[in-house]
Symmetry: C2
Subunit: 225 residues, 2 copies
DNA sequence: CTTGACGCAGAACGCATGTTCGAGTATTAT
DNA sequence: ATAATACTCGAACATGCGTTCTGCGTCAAG
């Protein structure tokens, strides 16, 4: 049995994950017994034991004496919310930062909250991450500087024709958001703006598809120009 | 005492409102007794009585037998979420539908969920409503067909220079999203796209500013083109 | 007036759920 | 080996909390 490997044991992680999924599914926190059932802990006292530790670590908040008074810390009671880690910035001339597959929002420094109802498929929302757009180079994709693009990791699988994807062209040192079309001699990357020319990529040229764009969010708070 | 005035009595409304604020504040639903305390109902059975009615009306959902199993209906338990009513569609040649000031999301048929953290000022989120963009006529504002624009009602107050606003020009039968600038002889409406020409509106011409754009959301689910 | 639906209160019941205690087993340190 | 610490279990306890029943007053219809 692994003993206090880091600061977060297996059970700690499992409890945190359960807290999140349960809250997302039901809208309210679970009971101690429900946590135990999911985590494979038979005694409520053991669950309480870990809950106390997690509280000391500052990972959860507890309202003593009241039922279902366990919640993830961070001030944000998440209902049908989905926390998407912001992996970094997407710049025209630089590769796209993609989080590792086991990257969970627990580890992310910054994240944005998206309502589940806004996501394409509420059930399979794994592999989602967000990037902030840096610069005006993607206006052809109707994406502005400062916009946030939410992407779904394709996991190496080739996207469907017509998907909007984030691609990295190593030989051109270029990152773009384009509609993806496979053609006989390679690929065609079509801008969202009809007036712009498409990019043709030869079959031999390296092309890394980093993710499928599922959502673009533009917050207009301060004045731009 | 008012008796079954419409379909929603005073207590029904109060309970619904309490359900919402309590959930937003704590992250979990209240108990029956807490509802009673807030609503001024001394007996749990009476609360249960109203809860049953609200459930029959479809306004709330109940998980029987489990504590705090009361939630607002609509499938979306709202935590730090904000429900914004979708007032309608915004089309280039038609006036902008604006909800009445007392329009609450309780009455809205359709609404979208936005995380509080994404909103500009989390405290003062009144007067927010959303519109779905119909048609490609607003690509100059970097807004696509199908996009959702979240607006804040200006309430008759003139917006600041540089704000992105939704304006209705009655004399031209035109609706647009533009950056707003006041000039000596009238107003200048500047498109987001720098390559497009600005519109100049004379001081005499009618101009209705329906709201300030605070957010644009683009969901890419199905294939476009 | 009588009847019945409606709004309300209070109490009792019983299960759900957080809390606490005692004890047993492993792992590590001395 | 012995002690200390971390982890686990089961059970009992106390209370939180949903449910149900009885009763009382009010108002509108018959």
């Amino acid at each position: 049995m692994v003993r206090k490997s880091k600061g977060l044991g297996e059970r700690h992680k499992k409890i945190l994950a359960f807290l999140k999924t349960y809250q997302e599914r039901t809208g309210y926190p679970p009971t101690i017994r429900e946590i135990g059932e999911d985590t494979g802990i038979s005694s409520t006292s053991v669950v309480n034991y870990y809950l106390d530790q997690l509280e000391k670590m500052g990972r959860i908040e507890r309202q003593r004496k009241i039922s279902r008074g366990v919640q993830l810390a961070g001030g944000s009671p998440l209902g049908e919310m989905f926390k998407i880690p912001v992996a970094g910035r997407i710049v025209a001339g630089e590769p796209i930062p993609v989080p590792a597959s086991d990257f969970s929002y627990f580890d992310a420094e910054t994240s944005i909250d998206i309502a589940r109802s806004l996501l394409p498929s509420p059930d399979k929302s794994e592999g989602l991450f967000a990037l902030e757009v840096d610069g005006d180079s993607m206006i052809d994709a109707m994406v502005n500087d400062g916009d946030i693009v939410v992407m779904k990791s394709t996991g190496g699988i080739q996207p469907n024709n017509g998907d909007m994807v984030a691609v990295w062209l190593p030989e051109r040192d270029e990152t773009t958001l384009k509609y993806f079309y496979k053609e006989k001699e390679g690929y065609r990357l079509q801008p969202a703006n009809p007036t712009m020319e498409a990019i043709h990529v030869d079959k031999d040229e390296a092309l890394e598809i980093k993710g499928k764009v599922v959502m673009v969010i533009r917050q207009i708070e301060k004045t731009v120009i």
